[in-house]
Symmetry: C3
Subunit: 138 residues, 3 copies
Amino acid sequence: MRQASALLEFDTPGQGFTDITAQVARWLASLGFTEGLLTLLCRHTSASLLIQENAAPEVRDDLAAWLARLAPEDARYAHDDEGPDDMPAHLRATLTGVSLQIPVIGGRMALGTWQGIYLAEHRHMPHHRQIAAHVIGE
Amino acid sequence: MRQASALLEFDTPGQGFTDITAQVARWLASLGFTEGLLTLLCRHTSASLLIQENAAPEVRDDLAAWLARLAPEDARYAHDDEGPDDMPAHLRATLTGVSLQIPVIGGRMALGTWQGIYLAEHRHMPHHRQIAAHVIGE
Amino acid sequence: MRQASALLEFDTPGQGFTDITAQVARWLASLGFTEGLLTLLCRHTSASLLIQENAAPEVRDDLAAWLARLAPEDARYAHDDEGPDDMPAHLRATLTGVSLQIPVIGGRMALGTWQGIYLAEHRHMPHHRQIAAHVIGE
């Protein structure tokens, strides 16, 4: 049994969903694990991680509109000194979550056919984001 | 230290919550781990996993009504070619999440007394669903 | 490779967010892991775990107000025999989730600078809460 960890780096283009499946898969493949457990932790409070449909881009559009409806920018927040998109970003990150775990089976992440891993940027401006990645197994 | 993984199979009767605690516990018991970490990943984007109250069935009724209110079927979605229950299913799966981790202590999942593991089916029709399961420990 | 597990105990002062980062870090440090994976599971259905901003306290105020808006106490619930704050507590716990995973790198949890771990109490009364903790690594 062995393990590996790394800080994976991503640049987001501002609010939206960045498909990071291929980059995570490359990192995993470079380590040569056959079976194990992969963990990803987004090290931020206004960006998050989620697994969702990787085919129809409209799914991401609807997801963005839904998050904007549940945690709107035009609501009144006590914490508003970092701009109107900051507190809603914290709420949307809370709703979607910052950590993901994916079993590794047969040398690959055991995602379903239609599942992709997305880094969700909840701020309007582009940001540099870090994901702590860990894998343990054989 | 050792590990095991499997694809567990479930048939859902359509929208609702299927208690999978016993089936997961049986799989775990068959492997004989005393201490470790169990991970479950739902390999779908319109079904999800959650840990909730295993006693009063009204809790699941209220949970279903709440999800229906937060991600309604009669809203307007860009992604609607798979039917009116498809996009709300993606949203409800995002809200509840697709992966769960449970420490194994004393040969059993360290769930609380009132906690059960539920596979949440968000589509109206019955579906065949797969959960990737992984355990590591001793 | 080795592992350790424990049931960590917390007293909450009623509804709100308790920062448990230091207590979790102390437990982890006492075990001497350099690299690994930490898992926390809240063993309750009306309390939950989340990673959020550890600086501005207004963020927690806004988060509490938002949860109260999404899962209000004055809505009509089928499950109401444990009081008006019980079913909303289950819903808020479902939204935020009960398990967290954090890679351990360089002997410390790989949290971001602004991230803290919070035990979210969703009932009005103070409660005694248990978190099952597990770490695996070296």
